[in-house]
């Protein structure tokens, strides 16, 4: 099983030189810690920044400089600020190569639900619907099952959707799954996890890739 840091580390393997990347709140944010050396990857924050740097040193926080999670951050050489319309414009125009975000549920056709639980306080979708509708390539980082042990990889989402047919890949604590015409395709499994466990804990259509192998971090 992968812990959160390991999920992030595995997703970081998807990065390529020159990628512009948007990282959602939670596990996705951790991906920034594992960008492979030598790759030039630029982080986009949808509140209006390309070239997001690390958190500021204590005492150097600037209230005018935050990320989409409202955390204080820094710039790096080559950063650029812009307004919210341009920010989502570049996402919509396909300029952001990769978006990583969390989810409550993913369906085997790429549908995603991550913004609303009926009966609970709804805080809003923020930029999630824009990101999932418009990004070129979307990877979901999440736990394979919910706290009750129920699969979050479903044949159909039960929660209100954030976007349809948009997720390309899911990385969970149990493995890595492409979304194909035939549903989830397990291409890698986590150390210590069996294929049978993955089959048991996946509710949506699942195939196991002939080349399936253990995740190497």
């Amino acid at each position: 099983m992968l812990n959160k840091e390991q999920i992030a580390k595995r997703i970081a393997q998807e990065l390529q030189d020159g990628f512009y990347v948007n990282l959602g709140i939670g596990i996705p944010t951790l991906v920034a810690n594992y960008i492979p050396d030598g790759l030039d990857v630029v982080l986009q924050s949808e509140n209006g920044l390309l070239g997001m740097g690390p958190f500021p040193f204590e005492g150097e926080e600037d209230p005018d400089l935050i990320n989409a999670g409202k955390q204080t951050i820094t710039t790096i050489p080559g950063s650029a600020f812009f307004d919210s319309a341009m920010s989502f414009g570049m996402i919509r125009a396909g300029k952001v190569h990769l978006t990583v975000l969390g989810a409550m549920e993913v369906a085997d056709n790429g549908d995603i639900a991550n913004w609303k639980i009926p009966g609970k306080m709804v805080k809003g979708m923020g930029g999630a619907m824009d990101l999932v509708a418009a990004a070129q390539n979307i990877i979901v980082a999440m736990q394979h099952t919910n706290p009750k042990g129920e699969s979050k990889l479903l044949s159909k989402c039960t929660l209100p959707l954030t976007g349809v047919g948009c997720v390309k890949k899911v990385v969970t604590d149990l493995g890595v799954f492409n979304i194909t015409e035939n549903g989830f395709e397990c291409i890698e499994y986590a150390p210590g996890v069996t294929i049978n466990e993955i089959i048991a804990k996946t509710a949506g259509r699942l195939t196991i890739a002939p080349t399936v192998k253990e995740i190497v971090l």
Binding site: P54, D64, T75, S84, D111
Partner: protein, 233 residues
């Protein structure tokens, strides 16, 4: 062309109860603190507020919520606010949630004289309910209307007396878009300068969009999530 007003009270003096307001800012970053305080003091109500967020309990639009001045919020994300939640769950407060990029682009549409725009966000979700859907080049888009607001209230970093504005860092966010979308645009700035001080190549919002401007006072600039790293030894 006298755009400079004495302060927030004068700037907002003719905003009536029931008005539709755009309020700039993302979270607590780049919000028009002075104007919000003046709106609270003035005590008008039944307001519709178009703003990405709704502040926190004791800061930002949260202050207006405490005074029950807001009838409806149009936002993308409204967490972090207990009074908001109470009013929403009790039905006192109407809430319309809109994807963040759609919110921004509907402001831009107004600013650019486009009556409606086709956007991807929300297709196949409850956001699409009742909206026209149209396929272009194999993708489905929703037709989203430009916003129609009475006043836009924004915060800029520097401005000149003709209304030319520049913004700082991520305090830019929705501010320039709303500044350009307002029927009447009210701007508070940290620094108010004479024409010619700002470089004409680096104006974010040209003065033509701005109706009232003043130097704001006592910015608190509260930080919502203070995250830092230690100096590495």
């Amino acid at each position: 062309m006298k755009k400079v007003v004495s302060g927030a009270d004068e700037a907002i003096q003719d905003i009536p109860s029931g008005a539709v307001l755009m309020l700039g800012g993302f979270g607590l970053c780049g919000i028009p603190e002075n104007c919000i305080a003046a709106l609270v003091k003035k005590g008008i109500n039944n307001l519709t507020c178009i703003s990405n967020n709704a502040g926190v309990d004791d800061f930002g639009i949260g202050l207006m919520l405490q005074k029950k001045q807001v009838k409806k919020m149009i936002s993308s994300y409204v967490g972090e606010n207990a009074e908001f939640e109470r009013q929403m769950l009790s039905g006192e407060l109407e809430v319309e949630l809109i994807p963040q990029g759609t919110l921004a682009t509907r402001c831009m549409a107004t600013a650019y004289g486009m009556p409606a725009v086709y956007l991807l966000a929300g297709y196949g979700t409850e956001v699409a309910e009742g909206k026209e859907i149209r396929n272009f080049n194999g993708k489905n888009y929703l037709l989203e209307n430009a916003f129609n607001s009475d006043f836009a209230i924004v915060k800029a970093w520097k401005g000149d007396t003709q209304g030319n504005l520049i913004f700082k860092d991520t305090a830019r966010n929705f501010n320039p878009l709303m500044a350009m979308a307002g029927k009447i645009t009210i701007v508070e700035v940290e620094e108010l300068v004479e024409p010619g001080v700002l470089d004409p190549n680096f104006i974010h919002v040209p003065g033509i969009y701005v109706h009232r401007i003043f130097k704001g006072l006592h910015y608190e600039k509260r930080i919502e999530q203070r995250t830092v790293r230690k100096v590495s030894k």
